[in-house]
Amino acid sequence: MKTLLLKIAFLFRINILIFALLSLTIVAILAYRQGMDSIYTINPATYPYIVALTDSVDGGNSVINMIRTDSSIIMDYELREGYAYPYASIQIYLGDGKTHGKDLSAYDSVFLWIKPRGEGSVRLYLRGWDSTISKIDNQASLKFNELEFFPLEETYPAVFVPSEFRVAGWWVSQNNVSAHKARVDISNIPLIEIQTGTGAPLGYGTLEIMGIRFKGKIISQLSLTTGLVAIWFVTFFIILIIRFFDYSKERAANRKKREELEKNLKALEIEKADFEKSSKEDPLTGCLNRAGFSSILTREQERLNKNGSPLSYIILDIDRFKDVNDTFGHSVGDEVLVNLSKLVQSRIRNTDALVRWGGEEFVVLCSDTPLQNAQFLAEKLRQNIENTELISQRKVTCSFGVAEMIPGEDSKKLFERADKALYASKQGGRNRVTSASYKKH
C-alpha cells in the first residue's frame, strides 16, 4: 500500500507541488489578514522610563505632576506665562533613549488611550535619531515626527497611521535640515513625547494616559508578496528541472528501447541469415547443398548468356566410397567427406562454388572458366586428393568429369555431359579426369 502511494505521489508530483503552492499562498494570505500581528504596547502604569517635564527646561514657568495609578499615568499640569509656547509633556524613553531607540517603521498603526480633561489638542511626537542630523546629548536634535490631534474628537483609543505624521516645520528650520532629510522616519525612535497641543490655554489641565500600542504585521505586505512570488518562481524552476529530468529520462529510455529494438532486429536478421544459410548448406560438410546451388547457377547462367562468360562443371566422385563405409564404418566415411570438402574448398577459387551433390559426389561450379582450364583445375584437385591423407586407414582417390556449358543450354544437359565424362573416368580405371569436349559438326 505504501509503495503504491509512493508511486502515485511520484507520478503526480508536479500536480502535488502546484497544489501545495496554491495552498501555501492561500494560507499565507489568510494568515496575514487574520493574524501574524506584531504588537508593541507601552503600559505607562508600569513602564519605568517615563519622565514628565514642562517648558521650564526652556526657561518657562509651567509645572507638572505625574501620578502613576494601577492602570495609567496622570499628568496634572499648570501652564503659566513665561515661555512663548507654554507646554507640559511626558517623555517615554525607548532603547537607550539617546541614539539607539526602537524601530517603529514595521508598525502600520498607533493606538493611543488618552483622556484629557477639557478641550484642546494633544501632540504626539515620535522623536527619531538621524545620525546625519542628531547630536549625542542634544535631545533637541532628535527629529520631531509629530502628530497633533483633538482627543475628544477621536475614537477611543485614538488610532493613527504613520503616514499621518509629519516632521515639525519649526524643527526643520531651526536645525537647517535639507528637504531630503525632512521626511518622516520612525525607524529609530529613542523617545516618544506626549505634549499639550498648540495654543494650549494657560491654567490647569490633566491628561490621563492609559497606554500606547503600536500594531503591525510580523512581515510587511511587500515582503509577503515578494516571498510568495519568490516561492512561486522557485517552484516553477523546480518543476522545470523535474520536467527536464523526466524528458531526459524519457529520451534515454526511448533511446534504450530503440537500441534494444535495433539489437533485436539485428539478431533476427542474423538469425534469418543463419537460417537461410543453413537451409542452403550441407550440415555435415558445410558445403552448399542443391538448394543453395540453384541460385548461384542461375546467376552464372545469366552471365554466360549475357556476356559469354564461360561456365564449367566439375563432378567428382569418391572412388570405392561404399567400400570405405562398409569396411571402416560410416563415421570414417563422414571423416572422408568432411576432409575432402575442406581440401577441395581450400584449392578452388573464391569465385568457384563447391556443392555436395549426393552421398559421395561433389560438384565444383567454375565461374568464368573454359573447359580446358577446368580440366586443368580438376587434374590439380585429383593430384591433391591422391597425395593427401584424408583418413589414416587408406588412401582415397576421386574420379572427375568435366564439362562446359553451352549458352542457352539447360543445366540438366550440362550435368548429363559431365556425368558421362565421370562415368568414362570410372570405366577407365578411376582416379582420373575426363572432360566432355565439344564435338564439332
Partner: protein, 159 residues
Amino acid sequence: MKKIITLSILILLVSCAKKGPDFVPLTLNWFAYSGDIFAFGKEVAIEPVDEPFSTKCIIAMTQALMEAPTIQAHAEDGMAFNVQYFGYHRYGETNIQFRGSCQYSDNNIDFEKKPMILDPKPVREGCSWSARCTDSGKIKDLEFLGSIGKTQRKKHLGQ
C-alpha cells in the same frame, strides 16, 4: 507401292537425322618427366620449367587436343591418353615437349621416370602424338603418328 516408297524415305530421313554424341570424352593423365635428362637424345637436354609456364602450356595442349579432328573423330568412345611432358631448350628459348600415348589398362609405366616411347604406327588412330609448346604458350607441331593421310596440325594455334 507408294506407301512403301514413302516409308522408306521417312526411315532414310530419320536415320540421316540421327546424330552421334555431342561431345568427345577425353581423359588425360599428365606426367611431368624428371628422369634422365638425355633420355631423348644428347641434342635434347631436359631442363626444368616453372609452374606458370607449364600450367599455360598444359591448358593450351588440352584445348588443342579437344579441338583436334583426330580426337573429334572418336566421339563414340572417346580417348584416354597418358601425356608426358618436359622442358627443353630450342632455338634459344625454353619449350615444353608433350608426348601422348593411349592409355591402356595394363599401362603401369611410371612416365615420370621413364621416357615415353611413341608407337609410330599405333593400333588405333590418334593413339600416338607429340607436340611442343613455345615460350609464348602456343602449341606447335601437333602430330598424330601413323595418321591416315596427311599429318593433322592445329592451324589456329599459330602453327
